[in-house]
């Protein structure tokens, strides 16, 4: 209950009094100054943890809750390492004046970062060992003779001799640095971590009490709305400020190069003023056609090339092979499309600014906002407040710039919430992709060589500390996106890395004589081409990893089908990593996988056809193992694909919260279905045309809700890996393979719309 109240209250406190007062109100007293780390001092234990006079624990994290259960899991971690009850821990997250700088909360990196022997987990272990040492001194015994329970250290043989954390250090600082040798508690002894503790925020959320960034209100606050260009390349010719003069509540019109916004007393007044403001725009260059997108990517000449692996013998192996399988896979631009539009509140007063934002990156946002405002980063205070699920870089950062620019211009705090089209037309989209692959098959029916080449458009992205032009507001206000730097030919790889999952699971991944991959195929070549994008792009849940894995997992299935062998067994013949083999085996068992070739014969020509398909991945080459079986029905007349069941096996190392993990896998799976079957950014010759939920159709609540069966593989003795992006990565491959199994039709372009399915069905022999 304490924490819930804290969550509900903390926002109001922050809003009213600022961070120092928050620390004071938390009862941290003189401990507060120890939390002010200004970005880099996270080796200080006092920057991570404080024990108050009453013995309760306040922990500080630089990884924030995004709807994925991290707040609760991190609270469990601290409770476990400090041997205190869960409800005695309060977690403070992502505030540039209160918490350690842990960069960006992204990339399924929070579990590996904070749950291994570093950062937050190491802080917990360091603090526990320090408390035991203090207790040993106080009680006059060896540390090994002590037991801790509920924040009380006692002599194991005589529990009457005891001392509490409050008595040992309550209200005082540790004055220690994190001890890299501090010993984590053994998972065998866990009582809080590893258990399905319920999410802390949910009671407030279901009761409509939770405070999102959208609910932040500060004294004298005004409401802003932005006026984005009507077409992709338009620029401001002139703004007629008189067109909104005299409108109720209108306070100001703000123009900075091509950035235009209005500020009013109330949000509806701002909406009306933004609609009425007369702006003359100079139309820019026309957009290249959507139909030719992939052909343009394929023929681009100014590309940024990367050679991830190249054994040097792929061309020879292909030339000498009796059988060569080849295929090309296409992926569209897709939206983050958060269910709520982005919102931020900014209070810029002279050379100081306070920003409340749902950004995944409060520290980089501090620096880049300072650049936008022309003030020093140290003068900007960014406070994370939760927003709608973001899945990468949605509008949370760009709207923070919007609010900051408007507040700076009018000298009062300004809240901006984007309108639906403002966000959807100008997002940093998940990137489109074209992947070409070739496989040489040897006389034993095994793949002897795998050749991969891809083209993907990028522009902008996360702004980091100094590239506000990577987001639309930054560009409109006069900053350039990070420069696109062509590079051809690609230099040779110096070390194996597979963070984009461009290297398929089935090759050795050999660089400089060291095999870093998960497979057995030795003749391997993976070359990627970055192309300058027409639209802003950025990380969207499983960025590029999903696109690449769709191509790989479809392609291994195509080779197996060409050889008329079982696709699960065929995968196992090419894999070497035992944990990847384990998830593939486990998912097959859980799905009662029948070993046979695809498609299932005889192929049905009328009614509905059913099939099953599988896929697997080691996410980012080192960050979570996952395998999936999809069971689908295809309506042969309408081309509608229905997902009957998904079976998932996942191994992300030690399980910190099994229900939280299941929720992430389920969410990834459902989001993966939406992206596979429905989602595609569209445009005409002037502008983006997918600007609402009618023109960009995602999965709604009722349709396509499959049964989801999950096998969790717990590896308590292995490092913690990510789990937020494993399942979503392999949905498209599993569904495409299941459609092939059902119909004999291979779908190679996402999304698998009914139109694409029916035309593929019509074309089959």
């Amino acid at each position: 209950m304490k924490r819930r109240q804290f969550i509900v209250r903390s926002g109001a406190l922050v809003v009213s009094f600022g961070a120092a007062r928050l620390a004071e109100d938390l009862g941290l007293g003189s401990l507060a100054s120890a939390q002010r780390l200004n970005g880099a001092g996270s080796r200080q234990l006092d920057g991570w943890l404080a024990i108050k006079a009453d013995g309760s624990v306040t922990a500080f994290t630089g990884k924030c809750e995004l709807g994925h259960g991290l707040y609760t899991a991190q609270t469990q971690l601290i409770a476990e390492e400090l041997c205190v009850p869960f409800n005695r821990v309060t977690l403070v997250q992502c505030d540039t004046e209160l918490t350690p700088d842990q960069g960006t909360t992204s990339g399924a990196q929070s579990h590996p970062t904070n749950f291994n022997n570093a950062d937050l987990a190491l802080a917990g272990a360091t603090a526990r060992e320090a408390l035991v040492a203090l207790a040993a001194e106080r009680l006059g015994v060896q540390a090994t003779q002590l037991t801790i329970k509920d924040g009380v250290v006692s002599v194991t043989s005589n529990s009457a001799r005891r001392v509490s954390y409050a008595e040992l250090i309550g209200g005082r600082t540790f004055n220690l640095t994190l001890n890299p040798n501090a010993k984590r508690k053994s998972p065998a002894d866990w009582t809080v971590l590893g258990t399905p503790v319920r999410r802390v925020e949910i009671p407030a959320m279901v009761a409509g009490r939770f405070e999102y960034v959208h609910n932040v209100r500060v004294p004298r606050m005004l409401h802003g709305r932005v006026v984005r260009p009507p077409s992709a390349n338009a620029t401001v010719a002139s703004v007629d400020r008189r067109s909104v003069e005299g409108m109720d509540g209108v306070v100001g019109v703000v123009v900075k190069k091509d950035f235009v916004g209005v500020v009013a007393e109330k949000p509806w007044q701002a909406v009306q003023a933004a609609a009425k403001l007369n702006v003359s725009w100079t139309p820019g260059a026309a957009l290249p056609s959507q139909r030719d997108l992939h052909a343009r990517l394929r023929s681009a000449t100014a590309t940024r090339d990367t050679r991830m692996v190249d054994s040097g013998n792929v061309d020879a192996a292909l030339a000498g092979a009796g059988t060569v399988v080849r295929a090309t896979y296409l992926y569209p631009y897709q939206l983050h499309g958060s269910v709520g539009t982005a919102c931020a509140v900014a209070d810029v007063q002279g050379d100081k600014a306070t920003i409340w934002a749902a950004s995944q990156a409060v520290w980089p946002l501090r620096s880049s906002t300072a650049q936008v405002l022309g003030i020093r980063p140290e003068s900007v205070h960014v406070i994370f407040k939760q927003g709608p699920g973001c899945y990468g870089i949605n509008g949370a950062d760009t709207v923070a710039y919007d609010a900051a620019l408007l507040s700076q211009a009018v000298g009062r705090p300004v809240r901006v919430q984007l309108m639906r089209g403002d966000e959807m037309a100008w997002e940093n989209y998940g990137v489109a992709y074209l992947v070409e692959q070739r496989a040489a098959v040897d006389s034993n029916g095994l793949i002897a060589a795998w050749d991969y080449e891809s083209w993907a458009p990028t522009r902008g992205g996360r702004p980091g500390a100094n590239a506000p032009g990577n987001l639309v507001t930054g560009t409109l206000a006069g900053f350039e996106p990070a420069a696109f730097q062509p590079r051809t030919p690609a230099p040779a790889a110096t070390a194996f890395a597979n963070n984009n999952n461009a290297v398929p699971s089935y090759v050795t991944g050999s660089v400089n004589g060291r095999a870093g991959g998960t497979g057995r195929i030795q003749a391997e070549r993976v070359v990627t081409h970055g192309v300058r994008s027409t639209f802003f792009t950025g990380p969207l849940r499983s960025p590029e990893r999903l696109q690449n894995t769709f191509a790989h997992e479809s392609f291994i299935d195509e080779v197996a089908a060409a050889l008329r062998v079982d696709p699960l067994e065929y995968r196992l013949k090419h894999l070497s990593d035992p944990r990847l083999i384990d998830v593939v085996t486990a998912v097959g068992k859980a799905a009662n996988w029948q070993r046979r070739a695809s498609p299932m014969l005889p192929i049905r020509r009328t009614g509905a056809a059913s099939g099953r398909g599988m896929s697997c991945v080691l996410y980012e080459g080192d960050n979570g193992y996952c395998a999936m079986v999809a069971e689908v029905d295809v309506a042969l007349d309408s081309g509608v694909i229905s997902i009957r069941r998904l079976v998932i096996a996942n191994d992300s190392g030690p399980i910190s919260n099994p229900d939280g993990l299941r929720n992430q896998l389920e969410g990834g799976a459902i989001q993966g279905i939406s992206r596979t079957l429905l989602e595609e950014v569209t445009w005409d010759d002037q502008k983006i045309t997918s600007v609402d939920w009618r023109t960009y159709k995602p999965l709604f609540l009722s349709s396509q809700v499959p049964a989801i069966d999950i096998v969790l593989i717990n590896r308590p003795d292995m490092p913690a890996m990510g789990a937020g992006e494993t399942a979503v990565t392999i949905v498209a491959g599993a569904i495409g393979n299941a459609v092939f199994d059902a119909t004999g039709v291979r779908l190679r372009q996402i999304p698998f719309t009914p139109e694409r399915v029916t035309s593929a069905l019509a074309a089959r022999a």
Binding site: V206, W268, Q272, L701
Partner: protein
């Protein structure tokens, strides 16, 4: 500007606003409720849902003047954190939430439908929910939570 009186979650409020103002803006700004949220402003997603006269209403496309005098129930009007309504409790029990931003649409649409159709089948419930959007993919859990609540009504 017009003076408009609303009874929201049992309490009476009079606001002086442009009569064309969408009800959502009055609820979330003038009354500072946290339940109803701006998702699309187009009535397409459900984030702004409230219950009026037993119907789930999308407050982002409902002019406040058209509900003058009406009783409005938002998510916070169903129950509190300490005393949640059974449908809210079902969402806690199923942990049927990720970011939680869509919950007004999910919970209030289901509640209004089941109030009128307490014996609805799972298929009918799904159909009733077909205009509600969750982008995190908590769909399976949410439908389980609604099913749990619906079974409680039949029992």
């Amino acid at each position: 500007m017009s003076r408009i009186t609303l009874k929201v979650n049992g309490a009476s409020h009079t606001v002086d606003v442009d009569p064309a103002t969408p009800l959502l803006y009055v609820l979330s700004d003038d009354l500072q409720l946290h339940g109803p949220k701006f998702g699309c402003g187009l009535g397409q997603c459900g984030c702004c849902t409230v219950i009026i006269k037993g119907q789930a209403v999308r407050s982002c496309v409902t002019a406040v003047s058209t509900v003058n005098g009406a009783e409005v129930t938002s998510l916070e009007g169903l129950g509190s954190m300490e005393k949640p309504h059974p449908i809210q409790q079902a969402f806690v029990d199923e942990q049927a939430v990720q970011c939680g931003f869509c919950l007004s649409g999910v919970i209030l649409t289901a509640k209004a439908y089941l109030d009128r159709n307490p014996k609805a089948s799972d298929a009918e419930i799904r159909n009733a929910m077909s205009g509600v959007l969750c982008r995190c993919g908590a769909n399976t859990r949410m439908l389980k939570a609604i099913g749990r609540y619906a079974r409680g009504l039949k029992a």
